[in-house]
Amino acid sequence: MDVFSQLADGFAVALTFQNLALALVGCFIGTIIGALPGLGPSNGVAILIPVAFTLGLPATPALILLTSVYYGAMYGGRISSILLNIPGDEPALMTTLDGYPMAKKGQAGEALALSGIASFVGAFFATWGLVFLAPQLVKVALLFGPAEYFALFTLAFATLGGIASQNQGKAVIATMIGLGIAMVGVDHQTGVPRMTFGNIHLYEGIDFLVAIVGLFAISEVLLFLEHKAGSAPSEANQKLARVTAPFWMLKKTAGTMGRSTIIGFLAGVLPGAGASLGSFVSYTIEKKISDKKGTFGTGDPRGVAAPEAGNNAAAGGALVPMLALGVPGSGTTAVLLAMLMALNITPGPLLFTQRPDVVWGLIAALFIGNIMLLCLNIPLVGLFVRVLRVPSKYLMPAVTMISFVGIYGISGSTFDLIMMIIFGVVGYVLRKLNIPTVPIILGILLGNEMETNLRRALEISNGDVNILWGSPLTIGIWILAIAGFVAPFVVGRFLRPKKDPTVAP
């Protein structure tokens, strides 16, 4: 089959010594980033993009390094959930519900091993889903014109603001702030400067990397300063007798993993949803299906397997719209899109036809990364646990300094660093006000594309706005967009956990 030969080509790209080494390093760093409270996949990858960028790696190796970090962070998030009852990142929130009780019962090692295996199952099969689904989506996407793309961007914002947020009004505010920031700079079509206040530094627009690192990493440091000593994890004092899962436990949870993988993958494919929704919905549904004796929430292994398989499957699923359409659905995939754009690669249907080496090399790297992560995680979990004990008073300054190093490396300009600090302060205030920062990032990333497509569409139709909803495809996308935005009013409480806005994105 065509897909398999392309995948084989991808493995040929990925299986060089350099790429394997990068994948290994990425997985290792990623797991640590995921495990550390306060550093999630989004801000972890955000800090590393400028670094990878300034290292001057070519596109494919850089992509392999950073996606390994991304997958690694998805794996690592569970460690502090289970041992400390503190989710290392947002998607790992659900894992605390049964993972921590298991650890308290003295089954920390079993919980870690089981969640590692569940993560592997979820991510592995979701990558297969990506292999088969993405090319199908590309076929549809090749039919898209500017009007369809405009509708599609609206869909991404609508579902992100609807399903994935707690307050639609605030999500719209965030989106508009992001789009507004994207407008800064010279207009691509007519060449006139906009919103630059005559400042020469603003003519090229505001670099999204500066915004991402500021909003995600610097604001995190400010949040830590606010609660100085109080929230620092004291000790991971569970004894890890053995980090293996007994066979009966795997057998008992096999069905759970299968169901959760499918649910998680579907949740991930939805634009705007992402891994947090994947883990939440998987857990909720699994609880409905198998919680006959009311053991969920008291350390049931199935309650650990479900969210972990779900969130890792969703992480893979979220790559489908990101790669095939160029429209990311979640915070982490938005950061991955930023990474692609920093490497001068525009995701979307054309990427599959023009740069198959990048796409399939990346997918092959995901498979390799998965297997590496499983191998790293089971024997090395003790090491990662020790990393948890690095107190935030030493960790956060290091994170800040690495953020500065990365942004300084891009341009060496003081102006960018000041912008990053401003974004950090703004991000802190917005997060306190419970305004999601992901739509801002997405707005900055997609704003210019969105405007260009709108203007092109109207140029084609000579100003007739009906072109925006003139084809069956556009109508379909608009209906989805409206449904995605309105759905939470109807079924909202089934879709999202109550979450603390200060958990790392």
């Binding site: 009004g169 007519t190 030493y394 300054p397 300094m401 300084y408």
Partner: protein, 143 residues
């Protein structure tokens, strides 16, 4: 209350943005919508969305007390000072001092913070500059 302030701030921002958009010079190259339309659309939607937190505000977040607030402002000031110090005194010295201060403010004892500052600075210099060849700010002494 915080949400109402937010809503009003967004309304003001939106008005300012629309005003700025009308000031955009149009050039001889034009397309149907022109460069002003989309910014005005964004700002209008921002204004509409800003009404919601004014009408139905969420409960106030726990704003930090005045002490913590000063702490945050101090940290921001340190970061700004760091930005300007980088090209003057170079990476290693400015980073050691800045990360030392941050670590101290995050609760480390002064001596431990100083050690942390120096180790973070030298660690980053070794890993990113010497091993990975990233360009860092050079001061008068070349590091």
């Amino acid at each position: 209350m915080s949400d109402r302030v937010l809503g009003v701030a967004c309304l003001l921002l939106s008005a300012f943005y629309i005003f700025m958009a009308t000031q955009i010079q149009t050039s001889f190259i034009t397309d149907y919508l022109g460069p002003k339309f989309f910014p005005i659309l964004i700002a209008s939607l921002l204004a509409i969305a800003a009404i919601f937190p004014i009408i139905k505000p969420d409960p106030d977040p726990d704003w930090p007390g005045i002490g913590r607030f000063v702490e945050i402002i101090f940290a921001v000031a340190v970061m700004v000072a760091y930005t300007y110090a980088l090209p003057v005194v170079g990476f290693v010295l400015s980073t050691a001092i800045t990360s030392g201060i941050l670590s101290w403010r995050l609760g480390a004892k002064p001596i431990a913070a100083a050690i942390a500052g120096v180790s973070i600075s030298v660690g980053i210099y070794v890993v990113f500059h010497l091993v990975l060849q990233l360009s860092l700010a050079r001061g008068p002494w070349g590091f």
